[in-house]
Symmetry: C2
């Protein structure tokens, strides 16, 4: 769907230096390399030079030192769930596969922290943390690696309460282009010491350094949870109810909008008969049962005041699981509704007062481009996803649709990407979103990676 | 108290270019400049070259362009409440006084945001936000300017619930050393677009750019608040109760530890008879009265299980004000208890499991150096302040005390500064805390300020 220009650019052909063999074995069989030709969305890249599996910081230091000597560009990769082309080769980059660097170094329940290798996935961390009554709260949907989630500054359904990766990663270890392995940040709740390199690396998609260790916050699993699914006559009503809940400081930990098209797809997928109307999916957390009861009552009061059609409440673990399963399966339901299609997901975020606008625009533009768009958003963060099925014949329309959605968000003060990152696919919007700050980003890239070896061409050109 | 070496360094003597007059009037009378010779802690600097009052981004751009041509180093200054020497001249820097750049550009209650100039103080912003039922939650105690709070990455009593400046500043405008005025971040709840320059500038103390506008988050003022003051037999008991509350996810928005010495000073100051034992000061927020009642009951249960001596609960606004007045007046109470002394405040933060350790070490080291140390901490963040009165004869002992406290924190994985910043006073600890990352910080400083014009010598040398 993106034009070839996004992925092209000058080919980078390192000289193979037989006198300087790589420090770790490199997979070079075409049949293997061809598995890296496209990303999760079907966006095309080139065949990488090879795959180097690493399991330690020392491995990465040795590989970066070798890459610098041989001028071999590197793409760090975890679980491979990027949606924006972060992991696609443009020339003949070497993929640094960190998926086997997946150890839990330490869980410190008294500190509410865990220290992990970057290849560990979030569900693996959560399985281990649950033994202490703790959880890692960033939930982007996919079972991404923690290193990849940091590299893209991922967030997700619980961000309204717990923040995204920047709020939940306390410290990192990263290997820079000059071979320096440095620790960034400290494993404490707050620090004002020195420049915030930890947050600079988060979201930099492996273009400034390769993350080799993370210390993350863990949060207690709350004792009392309620989940609600509430239908409204219109998106505007649902959004108004959501904003009022936030204004009342109700302790919601998930606050998701699903539009009528999506609810129809869920009905078809599950053989259910939910109202085919815009709905909020809500989690509510409390530290006691009376608080849970009172907060649930307050949420239903707010929703009724905004003309709620239907309110379903889940109180037990089983009921909650069933309620959320629909939201989690939404993408599969939409895939089932449009067999044989590819899918694009937009990722804009806008100020709260423009959420209803953004959802309207997403729906209206879908009609304009003849696309069966559905909308689901992390509404508590102003993050609106359009899910767009398209055929090969519609690829250009889907691209134009995405472009219009982004331009709408930028025009109202929003961002091209709330949580997926810039990668290759959103690079074209960087100047419009950031203006003169793009030159400052480029200056930092040149200062930290003067040979442009780390994921070249992603986010910003030096 | 710090040795002269901290503030000295090479004198920077710009050539006065009569052919290139400054774009804004510059105050140069010695009687005025002498007011800038020491900071709030009495730490000495040099007489600055002059004071340039600015009120707009355009003023700052013009001044930075002039400074670059004339090689005049600049120190940006807001309310002047830095505790770590950020604002002291080392050579003959020009002070850029932003205190009159104090306009509220916009309050957008529907977006839960405000856009302000950097000289605006937090209490002025809160007065304006309160009209919409909203508040700016970062509370460092002093009535600091928003720009200064961003420059030092301030936080304070409410950080346990609302985070510090990085979590509450969504976007900045800053002027860089090349005269570029750039917008960093976007006024939305989350973004993964480009490098995180917004958070890089926050905490950089005017060494990378001068902040000229901020868009901050506002939070609803909660409907139901309870405050508690609870005494314990020991610091260890108080800390254990605090950590258990956090483990139960109780909705505390302030969680402060005050030691027995401090409580004795409060008794003397107020003619009160509180238990002279370690105490927690707690705020609890709820969205309904039943939730407030239930959460209060749960907090008192936890504290009793940790042998609480005395529990005082404040429910009305008046009762809450009285309860917190003691905590807010603590510094004045300690000043009254040690007339004629200067004061130093340490600012380490440590992992949760080391808080009791850190408080013990602070008290023990006080005895060792013959200093009447008291301890008060933002315990919900692991941030421990020792307040140290000292005479001229004790200046060296106070410095050695501070040094030992920092080294203890660093040895257990903590930070030299949780919220005050590095400035000049903590610069010596940067290598021990950050190791090879200091060279990366210096590379960024060189890339963004190649002539070392912006607050030279603070945080890191290029």
């Amino acid at each position: 769907m993106p034009s070839r220009d996004d992925n092209g650019g000058p080919s980078i052909r390192p000289v193979t230096a037989l006198t300087d063999p790589p420090p770790v074995p490199i997979e070079t069989r075409d049949a293997i390399l061809d598995q890296y030709l496209v990303d999760e969305t079907g966006r095309p890249g080139r065949r990488p030079r090879g795959i180097a599996a690493v399991t330690s910081t020392d491995d990465v230091v040795a590989l970066v030192d070798w890459a610098r000597r041989t001028r071999t560009p590197l793409i760090a990769r975890g679980a491979g769930t990027s949606l924006e082309g972060h992991l696609l080769a443009r020339g003949d980059e070497l993929i640094v596969d960190l998926s086997a660097a997946d150890a839990i170094v330490d869980i410190s329940p008294d500190d509410f922290t865990a220290t992990v290798q970057p290849g560990l996935t979030r569900t693996a961390l959560n399985a281990a943390a649950a033994e202490y009554g703790l959880q890692f709260t960033v939930d982007p949907g996919a079972d991404a690696s923690l290193g990849g989630m940091a590299a893209t500054n991922a967030s997700g359904t619980t961000t309204v309460r717990y923040g995204g990766m920047r709020a939940n990663v306390l410290a990192l270890q990263a290997v820079f282009a000059d071979g320096t392995a440095a620790r960034l940040g400290r494993p404490v709740r707050k620090t004002s010491s020195g420049y915030d390199l930890k947050d600079l690396l988060i979201g930099s998609a492996g273009t400034l350094g390769i993350i080799t260790e993370l210390t993350v916050r863990l949060h207690p699993i709350p004792e009392w949870l309620r989940s609600l699914r509430i239908s409204f006559p219109s998106v505007a009503d649902a959004v108004a109810a959501a904003v009022e809940m936030l204004g009342l400081a109700l302790p919601v930990s998930r606050l998701e909008l699903v539009d009528a098209v999506s609810m129809a797809a869920i009905n078809a997928f599950r053989d259910a008969d939910y109202a085919e109307a815009p709905a909020l999916f809500i989690d509510l957390e409390a530290a006691s049962e009376p608080a849970a009861v009172a907060d649930e009552r307050e949420i239903t009061r707010v929703c009724r005041a905004h003309d709620a059609i239907d309110i379903a409440t889940a109180r037990t673990h089983g009921e909650r699981h069933t309620l959320w399963e629909d939201r989690h399966n939404l993408f599969f339901a939409l895939k089932a509704a449009s067999p044989g299609h590819r899918f694009m997901v937009t990722d804009t975020a806008v100020p709260f007062s423009r959420i209803a606008d953004a959802v309207d625009a997403a729906t209206r533009l879908g009609g304009q481009f003849g696309l069966a768009v559905s909308v689901a958003g992390h509404i508590g963060d102003g993050n609106v996803h359009s899910i767009v099925p398209y055929t090969d014949a519609q690829a250009e329309a889907a691209q134009q649709y995405s472009d219009q959605v982004v331009r709408h968000a930028l025009a109202v003060g929003g961002t091209a990407t709330g949580e997926h990152g810039i990668g290759l696919a959103k690079k074209r919007y960087l100047p419009e979103e950031h203006g003169p700050a793009v030159a400052i980003m480029a200056a930092i890239k040149r200062a930290l990676d003067p040979d442009n070896l780390l994921n070249p061409g992603k986010i910003v050109d030096p």
